[in-house]
C-alpha cells in the first residue's frame, strides 16, 4: 500500500471517528436592559471613585516634597558597573509568542547580563522535564553596547501605545508573532510589547525602528555565534503545575509522587487552572535530579490527583512565575 493511499485511508478513519465527537451546544445569553442599567451604574461609580482617588493622590504627592524627591533615578543616567555581581542590571527579552502562548520556554529569549553573559533561551534537556538556560558569553563591552542601544531606542516611551491585542494574541489573528521587550535599569523594569516588527515600524519613528531592528539582529547574531556555550548553576527552579480534577489520563505515562513538601493545592495561582512556585534551597538538588530522570510527559501525583508540570531553571536575578505581560 502506498503512503498516499495510507494517508487517504487514515484520513477517512479520522473523519469517521471525529463525526462522533462530543459536540457542545450553543447558548446565547444576551444582556437584559436591567442588567445593562446595572452595569452602567456600577461603571459610573467606579469611574467616580477613580477620579476622586486620582485627585486626592495628586494633591498628596504635590504637597509632599520628600515624596517627590524620592522618585528613583528620574534624571540619573544609567551606567553599567562591574560591581553589581551576578545580578542582571539590564534585561532585554525578545519573546516570540507565536504561535504558542504562553510560550516563554519556546521562543528566543535574549537576556543580557552585566557579567557579559547572554542568555539565549531555554533548552529542553532531551527527554526530561527540566529546561535549562542556554548561555553565550559575549563580553562586557557588548553588554555596554546593548545598554546604549536600548536607551537610544527609548523602549519604555512607547509602552502605552501598544495595541491591546498584544495582551492576548488569540483575540486578534491567531498567528501574529509578537515580541515582548523587558527593559530593566536602575529605575525599574519597563516593558514594550509589539505584535511584530512591522507593528513596531508603525509605532516608532524610522530612526528608532532601525535601531530596534539592529539591536534584534545584533543579539541574534551574537547568539548564533555560540562558540562559547556556558552553563549557569541550577539554584532555583520554576515549576508550573496544571491541575487535573481526577487521576487518570489517556496518554500519560505512570505518575510519580509529588516531590515537594508543600501540596499542589497550596501553591500560588499563576493563572486560572495553573499554579506556579519557585523552588529554592535544599529542595533544588533533589527536584533537579528527579526532573532530569523523568520522561517529559510524566504526571506528578498528589492527593489522588495528577498534575502536568513544566519546570525550568531560572537565571540569576529572574523572579520566576511571571506572567508574559508582567
Amino acid at each position: 500500500v502506498s503512503i498516499e493511499a495510507r494517508l487517504r485511508n487514515g484520513a477517512r478513519e479520522a473523519l469517521r471517528i471525529a463525526a462522533e465527537f462530543d459536540r457542545p451546544g450553543i447558548e446565547v445569553r444576551a444582556f437584559s436592559f436591567a442588567r445593562r442599567a446595572g452595569f452602567a451604574v456600577v461603571a459610573a461609580a467606579v469611574v467616580f471613585a477613580i477620579v476622586i482617588a486620582g485627585i486626592w493622590t495628586t494633591r498628596w504627592i504635590v504637597n509632599d516634597d520628600d515624596q517627590v524627591a524620592d522618585q528613583p533615578g528620574q534624571d540619573e543616567p544609567f551606567t553599567p558597573s562591574v560591581d553589581a555581581g551576578d545580578q542582571p542590571v539590564l534585561e532585554i527579552r525578545l519573546v516570540d509568542t507565536s504561535p504558542e502562548w504562553p510560550s516563554y520556554p519556546e521562543g528566543p529569549v535574549y537576556t543580557v547580563m552585566l557579567n557579559g553573559r547572554l542568555v539565549v533561551g531555554q533548552q529542553q534537556l532531551p527527554e526530561t522535564m527540566l529546561r535549562v538556560p542556554l548561555v553565550v558569553d559575549i563580553g562586557l563591552d557588548r553588554v555596554t553596547e546593548v545598554i546604549e542601544a536600548a536607551q537610544e531606542i527609548g523602549l519604555p516611551a512607547i509602552t502605552t501605545e501598544i495595541d491591546e491585542k498584544a495582551a492576548d494574541p488569540l483575540q486578534g489573528s491567531p498567528n501574529y508573532p509578537y515580541w515582548t521587550f523587558l527593559y530593566t535599569d536602575t529605575t525599574g523594569t519597563h516593558e514594550l510589547a509589539v505584535l511584530d516588527l512591522d507593528t513596531a515600524a508603525q509605532l516608532l519613528p524610522d530612526e528608532r525602528y532601525a535601531k530596534l531592528f539592529d539591536l534584534y539582529v545584533q543579539l541574534a547574531t551574537w547568539a548564533n555565534e555560540g562558540t562559547e556555550l556556558g552553563d549557569l548553576p541550577v539554584d532555583r527552579i520554576e515549576v508550573m503545575v496544571m491541575t487535573s480534577a481526577e487521576s487518570g489520563s489517556v496518554t500519560a505515562p505512570e505518575p510519580v509522587p509529588w516531590p515537594l513538601e508543600q501540596p499542589v493545592a497550596e501553591l500560588p495561582t499563576y493563572i486560572a487552572g495553573i499554579r506556579c512556585t519557585v523552588v529554592t534551597g535544599p529542595d533544588v538538588t533533589e527536584l533537579r535530579d528527579l526532573l532530569m530522570s523523568l520522561p517529559l510527559d510524566t504526571p506528578l501525583a498528589d492527593r489522588d490527583r495528577w498534575h502536568a508540570t513544566i519546570a525550568r531553571a531560572l537565571i540569576p536575578g529572574e523572579p520566576g512565575c511571571r506572567l508574559p505581560t508582567e
Partner: protein
C-alpha cells in the same frame, strides 16, 4: 455535554451577508475535529482543542465571520494548538477533569492499528510537515489553501508534503505514492 456560553449583545447583529455561526459550526465541526484528532493523537484532547477553537471564533464571530474564509482561521488555531506541547498538555489536563463525563463516549469507534501507526508517524514529523499533511489529507485542502492557513506559499507546502511522504515511507517501511 458542554455548552458554549457567550454574552452577546442583541444590538450587535451579524453583518449583511455574513454566515450565521450555527451554520458554520455545523458544517465545519467534523473536519476541524478530525484535524485536531490526528495532530494531537488523543480523542479527548482533540475534543477539547476543537471546542476551544470554535469558542474563540464564537466570541469574535462578528469579526471572524466577516473574513472571506473563517474556516481557515479556525483551522489555523487548531493546527497551532494541536502542534504545541504546552497547549496539548493543558488541553489534556482540562479534558482529564471531565473524564467521568466522557468515559462512556470513549467506547465508540476506534482507529485501526494501521491508522494509529500512520498518524503516530505523522506526529513525529517536523511541525510544519505534520500540519501540512493533516490539512492536505484530512481536510482535503489544495496546496494553496494549506499555505494560506500555515502562512506560507503553495510551493513551500508542496515541499513539506514531499519531505513528509519521504520520511513516512522510510519510517513505515511502505511504498510511497504520488501526490
Amino acid at each position: 455535554m458542554r455548552t458554549m456560553v457567550t454574552r452577546l449583545d442583541r444590538d450587535s447583529p451579524i453583518r449583511p451577508g455574513q454566515e450565521r455561526f450555527e451554520h458554520f459550526y455545523s458544517r465545519e465541526f467534523t473536519t476541524v475535529a478530525a484535524l485536531a484528532y490526528v495532530l494531537s493523537g488523543s480523542r479527548t484532547v482533540a475534543e477539547e482543542i476543537t471546542q476551544e477553537a470554535f469558542e474563540a471564533a464564537y466570541r469574535e464571530w462578528e469579526r471572524i465571520g466577516s473574513f472571506d474564509r473563517p474556516g481557515a482561521w479556525v483551522r489555523r488555531v487548531v493546527a497551532n494548538k494541536a502542534a504545541s506541547s504546552w497547549r496539548r498538555r493543558a488541553a489534556a489536563v482540562r479534558a482529564m477533569s471531565r473524564l467521568p463525563a466522557t468515559a462512556e463516549q470513549q467506547s465508540g469507534l476506534e482507529m485501526s492499528a494501521e491508522a494509529v501507526e500512520l498518524w503516530a508517524a505523522v506526529r513525529s514529523l517536523p511541525r510544519r510537515q505534520r500540519q501540512a499533511v493533516a490539512l492536505h489529507y484530512v481536510d482535503d485542502l489544495p496546496l494553496g489553501d494549506v499555505g494560506e492557513i500555515l502562512g506560507c506559499s503553495a510551493g513551500t507546502v508542496k515541499t513539506h508534503l514531499a519531505r513528509a511522504r519521504e520520511r513516512l515511507k522510510r519510517d513505515l517501511g511502505t511504498l510511497g505514492g504520488e501526490a
